[in-house]
Point group: C2
């Protein structure tokens, strides 16, 4: 058993107690197949295996590489690529090899790509308000017909209300989610199928249209999501060592820099004092009396791109490292 | 020979013509050992080999992993770790195995770490204005004496004027660099040795105190540095495919998201139209008539963390891929 004091820094840590609490909280509301965990949040088959062991055996992916890695790990029971692709041949090969592969489509071109690539099943991706992928709801039925005409099994619809994930007024958020999901319900009526795949960590308990919620961040959380008031707790941090201290007491410098963190939501946070700024391989810390050699944990502002920057996560029970999970589904 | 149209996307591209122009421009001002290229910018021994072939055979690293990788690649002729560490044993092992290893020190603790770890040579790291590592200039002589008392060869000083890198008024910038370097010169007088290591891409031509400039970004550049008015050109981009287009013409979606880009300086840029926002695996594009299947190049806002997110860089001569450089020195 290794103590975290023995880990070279920077090192990505997962607090086992917090992680397991998050797993349990979600499973209480969205048990088994009512959750389709989103692999993009953590890009790790080890984490996926924990989810499968907890009864969540259908998964959502964002990249072809994630799909391939999940299938190779024996977790290909029901894999959805919740994203459009123009070359589905690698996905067709996965299906041919025995994985259940479902692909999102939102246009004539992507329906053709699915069929041409040898994919057998699709969801019609419907735009429900986020300016990103998805057809207009009114076109969903036509696309489903087109897909069926190409021999594809249309399992249903998906739509991601990503613009509604981080509202702090949860009553207003729930109203907006319902309006957003009205579009998906309308599309579903035209499309048919059993699946209405939607939602995420921020709407897991208020999206009542979805037959399955696409959430992943909830397992680890971040300082951005932590502000929303969800029943999940921060489990992720980057362990850093103080390597330099200003002689005049103005600041200290930790050895975990912005290459350790997803920075799109801003700087990481620290419990003692504050973060002044991050450089590539350093973080300048202020308003605390750090000494050279001190170790601290920085909590990231955005979980997904943070984990994607690391090769492994160290799972810690207190200060003991009890497992090391490879982040094996990174890149493209 | 592969055409970039055959590359799966997202893919990191380096424009060969721009890269070679940058290499040549810098070498004209800072030939050979007057430049100590900073590996942290690109984390690739393939790029380092190009620099060594151009006469820059001494290198600057930010992490122990970079030091180890450079030595293993036969590029350990003169490696500086321009960073403080508390456990220098891996560096001592490199020196023992024949690499020339120099380590930055800025405190009693880091001097002791260098000596205890078996490192033989150090630079005294001096704070010259950036709130990060480095001793106060007045303490440099004492630290040099301490280092020598521990048997370390003190090669000189280093100091990074990182707070002055991206000024657009280059006359005022030069004045501030001179004031900053006055501190380093004062420290150098107390320390002795042949080396005054300082500077970066933004001050390569106006830092007249440095015997060697620590620059790496200049080879690739980014949209942030491009605003400064330096004689280097943007060579780096991420190739992306449009996978979805809003039926109402409001936006289009590319398959390169924020996991492809260093986001601490903001969104990437595109020549046609604009970037609305980046998601994990998508970028929403506006103000241009994109079609599904179109390919585009997104130029990152910050080079170092962008390259660190990719496994390889594809070097392109026009649209032909002429080399693929592994980004083999990532992580810690």
């Amino acid at each position: 058993m290794q103590n975290i004091s023995e880990l070279p820094t920077p090192a990505l840590l997962v607090d086992k107690t917090a992680f397991e609490a998050n797993l349990k909280t979600m499973a209480g509301v969205r048990p088994g197949l009512a959750l389709r965990p989103h692999i993009k949040a953590f890009k790790s088959t080890a984490v996926a295996q924990v989810l499968a062991d907890a009864g969540h055996t259908a998964f959502c992916c964002a990249t072809i590489k994630e799909m391939e890695g999940m299938a190779a790990a024996g977790l290909g029971n029901d894999l959805l690529l919740a994203n459009e692709v123009l070359d589905a041949s690698r996905l067709g090969a996965l299906a041919e090899a025995g994985a259940r592969v479902t692909l999102a489509v939102d246009s004539d071109v992507t329906v053709a790509a699915a069929a041409d690539g040898g994919v057998k099943e699709v969801l019609i991706d419907v735009n429900v308000g986020l300016p990103r992928c998805g057809c207009v709801p009114e076109d969903a039925g036509r696309l489903a017909d087109l897909a069926r005409s190409r021999g594809l099994n249309v399992r249903g619809v998906m739509g991601y209300e990503g613009h509604l994930m981080d509202w702090t007024d949860r009553t207003k958020q729930a109203e907006q989610v319902a309006l957003s999901m009205d579009k998906l319900i309308m599309a579903h009526e035209a499309v048919g199928g059993d699946v209405v795949s939607a939602g995420g960590t921020g709407t897991f308990d208020i999206n009542h249209a979805a037959t399955e919620i696409q959430a992943g961040s909830y397992l680890f959380m971040d300082t951005h999501y932590a502000k929303v008031g969800l029943p999940f707790v921060e489990a992720l941090s980057v362990l850093s060592t103080v390597v330099s201290v200003d002689a005049n007491g103005g600041w200290a410098v930790g050895d975990a820099g912005l290459k350790c963190f997803g920075m799109d939501h801003g700087n990481p946070s620290v419990d003692q004092g504050g973060v002044f700024f991050c450089s590539d391989e350093h973080t300048t810390l202020v308003e605390h009396d750090w000494a050279v050699g001190d170790r601290l944990r920085l909590r990231p502002a955005h979980v997904d791109p943070t984990i994607a920057k690391h090769e492994v996560m160290h799972v810690c029970d207190g200060d003991e490292v009890v497992a090391t999970w490879p982040v094996d589904l990174r890149h493209w």
